[in-house]
Symmetry: C2
Subunit: 351 residues, 2 copies
């Protein structure tokens, strides 16, 4: 079905929902989006794989990015879409073709008081290595430079600012092997791990306030593994611990905290991603918050906004749809939220 940018945002969302674009199969949707954006004379369009970037070049003092992903989780008997009682149902309606529809409507608008970069990317719902925004940030960071970025992930029309970092470490508790019939000859590593688990259970996570937002850290064993044989006192027990840290801590600070917390044990960092500061003190962000009038919440999970922060661009999540419905068979987006979000962003961007 061809995309028609003169449709209202609800009809446009329906069109997008009905163009299947499960991760790694975004080609047809990207083709169609590229085609309609290239028809707009005020935009310069570039294509990278199944990622499409369209920019205004008005020479305005500020530039903002509006970004969204094309892909959805796999089909689950939830296509084609339909509207019922003010809700648009269908695969990707919530996560995040409603957001993509708004981006396309804004791209077609044609008159802006800020320069805008529209980024529509692939492979957000699969392993990070495939992420189209990540690839773009690496290959062409110049295209993402801006004063502010909005990722239009479903946030129920609220603004989710910043995001927490995440780090995983393997903590190895040693012991001494022995036959379990003479257990007192050995040192039970699993029993020793009990002390660390108790320390984790008793740990009070930090809840720092940053730019007026209260973050909430988490420090949790996500795996534990130990044991040699049913009749052997185990000489090793390995905890995998996931630390979700507020964006006032760098990865280096997070690692230092973990090494101190587990002092005396071997600690190996296996995985890490930095947090993102909310950056709500930037003029473009302030103007945006004023325009939306929406509630601002901290984002606890890691999201693609951190990719902008790495580039020095403050970023928030703001989009239609309840995030708790994302990836569900019965996902939907309220049609009123589509209209409301589009209106808010138009007001903010319009000259």
């Amino acid at each position: 079905m061809p995309i028609n940018l003169s449709l209202d945002v609800v009809s446009l969302t329906m069109t997008l929902v009905n163009i299947e674009s499960v991760s790694h199969q975004e080609g047809p949707l990207a083709d169609e989006v590229e085609r309609v954006l290239r028809e707009l004379p005020h935009l310069s369009v570039e294509r990278f794989g199944n990622t499409v970037v369209a920019r205004t070049e008005l020479g305005l003092p500020e530039r903002v990015v509006l970004a969204g992903h094309f892909d959805t989780v796999p089909l689950n008997g939830n296509l084609p879409g339909y509207v019922e009682m003010g809700k648009l149902f269908g695969l990707g309606a919530c996560d995040m073709k409603g957001g993509v529809a708004i981006i396309l409507r804004l791209a077609a608008m044609g008159s802006y008081d800020r320069d805008v970069t529209f980024v529509l990317y692939d492979a957000e719902e699969v392993a990070a290595e495939h992420n189209g925004l990540g690839k773009l940030a690496e290959a062409r960071p110049d295209l993402l430079r801006a004063d502010f970025a909005i990722l239009m992930e479903p946030s129920d029309g609220a603004v989710e600012a910043g995001c927490q970092g995440t780090m995983r470490v393997r903590v190895t508790v040693p012991g001494e092997r022995a036959h379990s019939a003479r257990s007192w000859v050995g040192v039970n590593a699993i029993h020793r791990a009990g002390e660390l688990l108790r320390k984790l259970a008793e740990h009070e996570p930090r809840q720092p306030v940053i730019d007026g937002l209260t973050y909430h850290e988490g420090l949790n064993a996500v795996f534990v593994e130990g044991g040699v044989a049913g009749n052997v006192i185990p000489d090793s027990c390995v905890l995998t611990v996931n630390y979700r840290f507020a964006p006032d801590r760098s990865e280096a600070e997070a690692e230092a905290f973990l090494r101190e917390f587990f002092a005396g044990y071997a600690v190996e960092v296996t995985d890490s991603a930095p947090g993102a500061l909310p950056g709500l003190d930037q003029p473009a962000a302030k103007a945006f918050l004023a325009a939306t009038g929406a509630a601002v919440r901290p984002k606890f999970g890691w999201t693609d906004v951190a990719r902008f922060t790495v580039l020095g661009v403050p970023a928030v999540n703001y989009g239609p749809g309840d995030p708790l419905l994302a990836h569900k068979q019965e996902e939907y987006v309220p049609t009123a939220q589509l209209t409301e979000c589009e209106h808010v962003l138009k007001e903010w961007l319009q000259a």
Copy 2:
């Protein structure tokens, strides 16, 4: 090489060492032992697979069992055997062809003040289901009935009495799954398991005194396993706990203890074997201890003596060779211990 029962015990041990009998390949040795025992008119001999049972039928008021296994662990470049500086080296020299040689020498003796049942069985060094003594106890318990039994496993010439029981349980600690970015919404099962591990670490095992012997229990986590994914608060953590219990507790009592210890958690018994009381108050046992004059120690590990206890027969381990050398490439048996053990048992059994 044919077995000659008129050889001295050291030479006979050497003959036995040089007849390979790795587990499941005991046939040639069992054939040769059966042949020489059938030549002795004072014994009635029966064969079951590769297990050979020879009995005196003198109508004496007491009957004792002498038992040993034919099989060895796999070859490890340690055949043929040789004697050096009073030590007989070679595969199985310690575990337990020295003991088998003594049994055969006693079987050839011909005059006894107690009826004797000589049991030589296969497949002791492999999974319990193959154990020749276990199979015999199940198929023909009548052949194992006696007032006392001696398993001639290497015990360095000391008497190891009774044995501890063993029970394994799986203890499941539940939790509530949540995304680790919002860990406070869930309940971390691995963290909760820390309480149980601390309880295990702090547990003071019983050391009951039975028939003058001090046993030593053990209660140990031998496996721990938990975790769903690197970003999920785990909703389950499973401990596998091995309880080694003194022989004054039955399996039912051991299970009751574990269920109370882990009260509030799901406990599943996966594996269990009863202990064996030392039974040193039996007349035959007393006479044996008086004859040996050897030190008596409790046996902490589970051994085949428990198979006799299940049949109501008190049993001990008593044999030549250092048990710590069993299964080692360089295993040996001191020739003086062979002679000493043979002498002690002859004194005890001779009319």
